[in-house]
Amino acid sequence: MPADSVLPPAESVATPEVLPPPEKHVGVGGAIHGAVPWIDKSGAVGGVFRAIRSLFGGMKITGGYLMRPSTVVTQQYPENRETLKLPDRFRAQLAFNHDDNGYHKCTLCRICEEACPNVSIIITGREKPAVSKKELDSFVWRLDSCTFCNTCVIVCPFNVLRFDGTFESSVYDRRLLSYTLNQYAGPVASVLEKLEDPEARKAAMEARDPYSGAAIIAALVEKQKATKIAERAAREAAKAARVAAKAAAAAAAAQPEAPPEAENVG
């Protein structure tokens, strides 16, 4: 162990004292409620018998569970689907709070989108709002990148989002993990309720399919790709300029110095 050559001899390390004990500390390791007497009283023959007894003590525990099938805790999952109850707060799937009419209250404030730590929420507004100024087109939630941190739910000022317990969300194609949460594209509940005419309401709303999120994300990715390439070129140019400036400064200093080793080893 090369550490030996590095470390100082044990004496040179300051000897620590036990912290000033505010109250008591529990005593010495081993004296656990008088449960393990046999090892401390090391009478040879008695020790052996106590040792054997300790083995039987363990067998009594396991044997006891074998004899009592009621202690089995296994849940047989697909069979117990009907009786399986998950707690209300269980975070399995993000969902929109739609009211009884099927209207939501999302005003496109994008607070949740900003609060999301891993960009799992993508909100797009309608290009041509029907009634109000800003209308939700699609609220896409990406289960595949979500970490279920619940931040979007607590930051939402209008209580639009909730997590519910439908946990059976496995699919064979991960594009299907991008859900469109809103059932319709259109104005919020309060605006819709102001419209007296049911036909007008219907005209303002456009149904949304839960699985239309993949296309939206694909379009977004295409758009970002182009900007990213441009950004990268700009960054690289800036970096080259900085390096050149530095080299010039070094040359100006005219101080021949060995190049830093970090560059060589990296």
């Binding site: 550490a3 470390l7 390390v13 620590p16 977004l220 990213k228 970096k239 830093p260 970090a262 990296g266």
Partner: protein
């Protein structure tokens, strides 16, 4: 020991140590060359007894072109804390190692080398800790870039 007394006591050991502003624990800026001697005395001084190097890491101040090394010391028996701050040049970051004073520094310094490229003089086993030996660049530097970095779309 209370913070003002502590700072005074350390400054008695190292007169050119200055107090770093903006820190919630007593923090002293010390020159790199004095680090090992000071740490040894901090550890062995019966009134100070900083026997635990709680953590050690670096901060990349890109705008000021320096790396700030922070050593967080704790005294287990006396229960007080001290932070040492050492600044080094970003391009040639060489500092003496604290391995001989605090053995745990061996790993902490390897991590700092791995992430910031700080070279520790006299370190017995200076190599990458988390990344592979042939990794290019030091990821926690502010100007680090690589092809795998994902950026948050704005």
């Amino acid at each position: 020991m209370e913070a003002p007394n502590l700072i005074a006591a350390v400054q008695a050991l190292q007169p050119d140590a200055t107090v770093r502003a903006q820190s919630d624990r007593p923090t002293l800026i010390v020159p790199a060359h004095a680090l090992v001697a000071l740490a040894t005395r901090l550890r062995d001084d019966p009134a100070l007894r900083f026997d635990l190097l709680e953590t050690h890491t670096a901060v990349d101040w890109l705008d000021e072109d320096r790396l700030e090394l922070l050593y967080l010391l704790t005294s287990v028996p006396l229960g007080h804390h001290l932070t040492l701050s050492v600044s080094v040049d970003r391009d040639a970051p060489v500092v003496p190692t604290l391995c001989k004073v605090y053995p745990i520094a061996e790993w902490l310094e390897r991590e700092a080398y791995d992430m910031f490229g700080i070279l520790y003089d006299d370190h017995p086993d200076l190599r990458r800790l988390f990344l592979e030996d042939d990794w290019v660049g030091f990821p926690l530097r502010k100007d680090y870039e690589d092809d795998f970095m994902l950026e948050r779309p704005e």
